[in-house]
């Protein structure tokens, strides 16, 4: 009923034969995966193709690769006609290459990969899979998902390009075309031989083992997925290749050296993983041009502190502005604005922290309880909503950590009134600031 066409080529999705009137309600292509009809035979090759990628790796492995292979030639043809899966069917050459795409594309990619059982040389997928699986794959997916914002496959090229910049020149060959990306990658794969890049996904025996198993896990690997090293290539080309290499290695050397080799591989895998994470971190940090680990880590630390502070400031500000000033406890009135240095964070409108009506005293302890301010590298300023300090002044007090005594008088930073103090506080605050550049900068703002 649903799919009258024989599998010769007619697109599955086209509605023509379907029930009249149903087509209006239901998109024709929805019928495609539904196999339970008389035409199941015709469509048998397809469903596994489409479903395989969506299923866990084991299934995809279990799901008949043979029929899939047989169906591979015809599969793309009918798939072509399917509206949604058109671009899946294209990459005949490098099905696993599609795995290099970010999470958004993962489903599509997997379907494509499943569809194209031409994975004679699953160079990329295994690599990615193998060392993606052990490290938190879901988290890795989360890691990768946000950065590349790609509705299409076009942006997929840039991420790998950006990530593996140093290591993989071939990444650049991955063009943004929807189909091209797999093909260039296919081309790149053999070319990437020489790159024993940091991103290399640990060409290891495990790759071959997990060949079909990893189809779901390359989500992680937008970056560095293109990178290959010679040995990884060899390993991944075949199980046989890997086995050959292994056996030859074993034959050549004693067991001990083989152990050492395995150890080295795992070491390299670990280092690669770390390096890849470092790159990810580097991409997150703005204006980070450090290439050595230590300085990059230092910069990361600073940036993290800055971010935390910024979040703190903004949340306090929004809380203060959203809440009516009447919420201010009477005791807060006694804590008059007290000019104190807010030096270190000159680039933040910290003076506004005092200017803002910290009306939501009740909210602030909650915010503080989140633990964000606790991370600030300030001397203990009684972060969690200290009694006299109402938690509010603590961020401001944190700025003054250079002037430790401010802790006691930190409460002074909380203006008694919201609106009135907002106008008054910044002025005295600015004038009172120890560092002229700070208020100057603040005023400039």
């Amino acid at each position: 009923m649903l799919l009258h066409h024989d599998d010769a080529g007619p697109p599955l999705g086209l509605p023509a034969h379907d029930d009249d009137g149903d087509d209006d309600a239901v998109p024709p292509w929805l019928h495609c995966p539904v196999v339970g009809d008389a035409d199941a035979d015709d469509t048998a090759p397809l469903p596994p193709e489409y479903c395989a990628g969506l299923l866990p790796a084991e299934y995809s492995a279990a799901a008949p690769p043979e029929p899939a292979k047989q169906a591979a030639p015809p599969a793309p043809a009918p798939a072509e006609g399917v509206m949604n899966f058109t671009f899946f069917s294209r990459p005949l050459q490098r099905p696993p290459a599609s795995h290099s795409h970010p999470v958004r594309e993962s489903t599509a990619v997997q379907a494509a990969a499943a569809t194209n059982r031409l994975r004679s040389t699953p160079l990329f997928s295994e690599q990615r899979m193998a060392w993606l699986q052990p490290p938190k794959a879901p988290r890795a997916a989360a890691v990768v998902a946000p950065p590349p914002p790609p509705p299409t496959q076009a942006p997929l090229a840039p991420p790998p390009d950006g990530r593996c910049r140093g290591a993989v020149k071939e990444a650049g060959t991955v063009t943004p075309t929807p189909h091209g990306m797999q093909q260039p990658e296919a081309a790149a794969a053999p070319d990437a031989v020489t790159t024993s890049s940091v991103c290399s996904g640990n060409g290891d025996r495990s790759h071959a083992n997990k060949r079909s198993g990893g189809s779901l896990h390359h989500q992680h690997h937008a970056d560095c997925s293109v990178s290959l090293s010679q040995d990884e290539l060899d390993l991944d080309v075949d199980d046989e290749g890997g086995a050959t290499r292994r056996s030859s290695a074993a034959a050549r050397s004693s067991k001990r050296s083989r152990t050492a080799e395995v150890h080295n591989l795992s070491e390299r895998r670990r280092r690669d993983r770390i390096n890849e994470k470092m790159r990810a971190l580097q991409e997150l940090i703005p204006n980070c041009n450090k290439i050595d680990k230590a300085s990059m880590l230092e910069e990361a630390i600073e940036y993290l502190k800055t971010l935390q502070l910024q979040v703190q400031m903004m949340s306090m500000g929004s809380a203060g502005l959203c809440v009516p000033p009447m919420l201010l406890p009477a005791a807060a009135m006694a804590a008059l604005p007290h000019p104190h240095p807010m030096a270190q964070y000159a680039h933040f409108p910290h003076h506004m922290a005092m200017g803002l009506g910290f009306g939501a005293f009740d909210m602030l302890p909650l915010q503080l309880a989140r633990g964000v301010p606790a991370h600030f590298p300030c001397p203990p300023m009684a972060m969690p909503a200290p009694g006299p300090m109402f938690g509010v002044p603590s961020p401001a007090a944190m700025f003054a950590h250079a002037a430790a005594p401010a802790a006691g008088t930190g409460a002074g930073t909380a203006p008694p009134e919201q609106v009135e103090a907002a106008a008054a506080a910044p002025a005295p605050a600015r004038s009172g600031a120890e560092q002229p550049p700070v208020p100057a900068a603040a005023q400039e703002t």
Binding site: R139, V143, M278, I301, K305, L307, V372, V419, T445
Partner: protein, 99 residues
């Protein structure tokens, strides 16, 4: 850390991301500092509870979440700014926060 790794550290060149010329200790110290900043590390006691990869991973996730939070807060502040309820002073405050 194995001695072999240390020797590799000394031998390795500089200025490449994969080089280990910078001492492992220094790096691990930085990683500890970084880990200390992370939210979930507060409950942990062990210094080396997380591997380097784990710490970096957590850091990336945390930074992303902070970015998200900044965006949300910016949106909130922008909405506040556009509303008619704020005085000019408050508007100035908001603008400065939004930078």
């Amino acid at each position: 850390m194995s001695s072999s790794r240390r020797s590799r550290t000394r031998r390795a060149g500089t200025s490449s991301l994969s080089s280990r010329s910078i001492s492992e200790d220094q790096i691990s110290e930085l990683l500890s500092k970084l880990q200390a900043l992370l939210p979930e590390s507060q409950s942990r006691n062990g210094v080396h509870r997380g591997s380097a990869a784990r710490v970096l991973q957590d850091t990336c996730s945390y930074i992303r979440s902070l970015h998200q939070e900044v965006d949300n807060l910016s949106e909130t502040l922008a909405e506040l700014l556009s509303s008619a309820d704020v005085t000019s002073d408050q508007a100035a405050v908001i603008r400065s926060l939004l930078m």
